[in-house]
Amino acid sequence: MLLRHTTKEIKPRSALTINPAKTCQPIGAMYAALGIHGCLPHSHGSQGCCAYHRSALTRHYKEPVMAATSSFTEGSSVFGGQANMLQAINNIFTVYDPEVIAIHTTCLSETIGDDLSQMKKKAFDDGIIPEGKEIIFCNTPSYVGAHPNGFSNMVKGMVDGLCEPSDDKLRTVNIIPGWVEPSDMREIKRYCAEMGVEIIMFPDTSGILDTPQTGKRDFYPKGGCTVAELREAGSSQATIAMGPTCSGAAARSLDVKCKVTPEIIELPIGLSATDKFINTLRKVAGVAVPESVTDERGRLVDLITDMHQYFYGKRVALYGDPDQLVSLAQFIVDLDMIPAYIVTGTPGKKLLKRLKAVLGDKYNEDNIAIGQQADMFLMHQWIKNNPVDLMIGNTYGKYISRDENIPLLRHGFPIYDRIGHSYFPTVGYAGAIRLCEKMLDIFMSKQDNESPEEKFELVL
């Protein structure tokens, strides 16, 4: 057994996390920053943080993930990281020439109390920021919150650092897509185009973390939200923020700073959440939903009615990040499946309220774990006590999956061991069809593999 020491008996824990269902803030900030065109993310801390985050993101996207580090030594940890930061800024602009450097902190630089705004000012005063180039930053202490919060903080950093207020509002709508795949961001843009809505999307990692092989490397690939677009986002008429955990703070900040009305919705994963997205976009932009989108929706509903028997009553364990969990749980209920367990290491009790809102009478707090010690070890123990038919979550679930012979649908971050997420979205109606197809494949293959010979079916 891969997890041979995991017992059915659940002993209380108050200090030890085992097999976490979260990681630390800075990696989220790094991913978000990659969604700006011509941006080099910078990690202000030990170089190991940057190496780990780059490695993790690279394993997930199978794409170059560029980021720099302040490379703290023991000396800088004692005397402060300003000297390293200024050297880094100078070296980055000289050697790598980005449009913008997006700096985030780490537990190290936060513990010693480095002040990024003061350092940015010093860099400006020292004349090491070339004309027309930008530095944005955010604080991402690893000992507060988790990776989705780091994403949120960097997106807010984009607003605080670049968005400009304007009295002349444009027709554009801002879309903050949240921590989703480049393929999802591309898909959200497709829906907006289909609806005839002009948008500014930030961050936008499509075209950056899914670049074509051409034999010639673009150090800064052509995708991403440009600095000019980010400035202009302050002139948009509204912001649709997808996923309150990852996108809410930026939308609110944009409202305060530039008076752009925020609409904070759940991630458009699954039927109901996509309905909410399309309907919100329709109202905010004052457009009609074209037949093509309604037809897409109809195809999803048709599939579900056709295949309902295979979904009905199946127990699902969900683990991962709050924004994904809420929408997936809602979709599970739409399919008449049972959200048996919901686990996230990302702290924040507000999630309970959100889950209650989408789960209705299927809401059961005993099966939800959030924050410290809400980890995959606990979820595994729950599963041992009362099994599920399916797990949905990141690659780390494969160990439980194999030991317990429970199929795993890979979704969220990180996915180290399969491709697909880079190319095929799970947002929107088409994304929901893909999720259904994957689930059905799993259930039907299991039936095909495990049914007795006399019960083996040709048609399903």
Binding site: Q47, T58, R59, S71, E74, A146, Y396
Partner: protein, 543 residues
């Protein structure tokens, strides 16, 4: 290939350096040398193990990664608790591909688990010692392991948590081995500091703990082998066939129990010199077990290593058995190698990785006729480049001085020199030198480039100038390199392939390189309409 030979390495280096601010250029120039092997394997001096340039996009990781990730990661029967915020435990959870094979279903195997104190702001403010002690208690209550170790992350050192005191009191309370590593990420300049800290603590808290003498005629430890992709399994099998008893490996496919018995071996073989030479030195000083450099990457090195071990024990039966195994293995290897050599001959490689792999893997490329144009380490020291002969002349800077050097005395009871000085001299003269590693550079051709701590910019320029047929690095570099239309072979994770050690591994590696440099897909990178320059409108429509 002929055009590649015309590249002037000096001009290449100048072009790379010209982009840098003057201070950075001066620093980097000392870490980039053109190789020239003189008499007695004299090579130019290279600067290594110095601070990374901030902002340069380095390949390097941190002290914690070297300690927890590299050295302690592959040992299965110990619970490794990372004391700090969640990230460090998360990123070092199963990502290094250290395979392990417990002897039975009942044996301890904790490597699939990640353990962390998941520190929050309250612990950063008020201290994390209480939570750490509680976490150790909970790990014990749930798993009853025979040992628990603790790894400090950056904030732990800053807030002053005394992990060693916590470990000591928990050791007394629980009656099992509990010990800690002060391997905060900011220590030293790379993973290398973490290797040293790991070596020190293993020596202090583990090695020598078990007095039961293991059976075996030729007792051997393999140091600095981490069982990436199953390398250790191949080496274990080879040693077994020769009749050599492997007491312990540091630390591929290992147990703490086996490490506790390491001092009972009669010979240590050092594979990755950078990460484990300290343990080899200390075992010799305390117990009198000598060490030799061994290398099981590449058929020639594998044969040489086996022969050196046999010669050390000096038993004709062993010497004959080793020759027989080598002959059997080479019979299988030669036809594969020769067939692949025809397809790879004259192609070129670059290797920027680790603290020994950039050296060891060059032999595999040589075997199939491929030339190494440039190589360098991520976290090595001068001795790994130039050989241990330069050790006395290495200046210890402030960053290295902070890493403890243990003072080791011979054990009053257990110190037992396995060979007399005369015997060792004789063996050295016969080709079994002790405490010797000649480094990477003497094995490289003149005019090749040796670059320490290469970064993203330098990688880009090397590819642009030299256009190698294959580039070996790690996951962070891989896809950037491949976007240039050049395959990258990961030599940290082996791209989830392997094993590459021993003869069987060499065959795997030859096939892998053949696959990479001769893959059809590279011919399809350009769309036909981008290759074809003829006008778009070629024909007209005739009604």
């Amino acid at each position: 290939m002929s055009e590649k030979k015309e590249i002037d390495p000096k001009a290449a280096l100048d072009e790379i350096l010209s982009k840098y601010p003057p201070k950075v250029a001066r620093k980097r120039a000392k870490q980039m040398v053109i190789n020239e092997v003189g008499e007695n394997e004299q090579v130019p001096q290279i600067t290594a193990n110095v601070r990374t340039v901030p902002g340069i996009i380095t390949m390097r990781g941190c002290c914690y990664a070297g300690c927890k990730g590299v050295v302690l990661g592959p040992t299965r029967d110990i619970i490794n608790i990372t004391h700090g915020p969640i990230g460090c435990a998360y990123y070092s959870w199963l990502t290094r591909r250290n395979q392990t094979k417990p002897k039975s279903e009942e044996d301890d195997q904790f490597m699939t688990y990640a353990f962390s104190t998941d520190m929050e702001d309250s612990e950063i403010i008020f201290g994390g010692e209480k939570k750490l002690a509680q976490a150790i208690q909970e790990a014990y209550d749930i798993f009853q392991p025979k040992a628990i170790s603790v790894f400090s992350t950056c904030p732990v050192g800053l807030i002053g948590d005394d992990i060693h005191q916590v470990c000591k009191s928990m050791k007394e309370k629980l009656g099992i081995n509990v010990f800690g590593f002060s391997c905060e990420g900011y220590k030293g300049v790379s993973q290398s500091a973490g290797h040293h800290i790991a070596n020190n603590q293993l020596f202090k808290h583990v090695i020598g703990n078990n007095e039961d003498k293991p059976e075996g005629k030729y007792k051997f430890n393999l140091l600095g082998e981490y069982n990436i992709g199953g390398d250790a399994f191949v080496i274990e099998e080879l040693l077994e066939r020769c009749g050599i008893t492997l007491i312990s490996t540091f630390s591929g496919n290992s147990t703490i129990t086996s490490m506790e018995m390491a001092h009972h071996a009669d010979l240590n073989g050092v594979m990755c010199h950078r990460s484990i030479n300290y343990v080899a030195e200390m075992i010799e000083q305390k117990y009198g077990v000598p060490w030799i450099k061994t290398n099981f990457i590449g058929p020639e090195s594998t044969s040489k290593s086996l022969r050196k071990i046999a010669q050390f024990f000096g038993d004709q039966e062993l010497i004959d058995k080793v020759e027989q195994v080598i002959a059997e293995e080479m019979d299988k290897l030669i036809p594969v190698r020769d067939a692949i050599r025809e397809r790879c001959l004259g192609k070129t490689a670059m290797l920027f990785v680790g603290g020994s792999r950039a050296h060891h893997y060059q032999e595999l490329f040589n075997s199939i006729g491929m030339n190494t144009l440039a190589a360098g380490y991520e976290f090595a020291h001068r001795d790994d480049y130039e050989g241990r002969k330069v050790l006395p002349s290495i200046k210890v800077d402030a960053d290295s001085r902070n890493i403890e050097e243990l003072e080791v005395e011979p054990d009053p009871v257990l110190y037992n020199p396995r060979k007399s000085p005369e015997e060792m001299e004789k063996l050295a003269a016969a080709g079994v030198p002790f405490k010797e590693y000649q480094g990477m550079m003497p094995d490289m051709k003149n005019e090749t480039l040796v670059i320490d701590d290469a970064n993203e910019w330098e990688t880009e320029k090397l590819i642009e100038i030299y256009k190698p047929d294959i580039y070996c690095a790690g996951i962070k570099e891989k896809y950037g390199i491949q976007k240039h239309g050049i395959p990258c072979k990961q030599l940290h994770s082996y791209d989830y392939g392997g094993p590459y050690a021993g003869y069987e591994g060499a065959i795997n590696f030859f096939k892998e390189i053949d696959r990479l440099v001769n893959a059809n897909i590279w011919r399809h990178v350009k769309a036909p309409w981008m290759k074809d320059t003829s006008p778009t409108l070629e024909a007209t429509y005739n009604a």
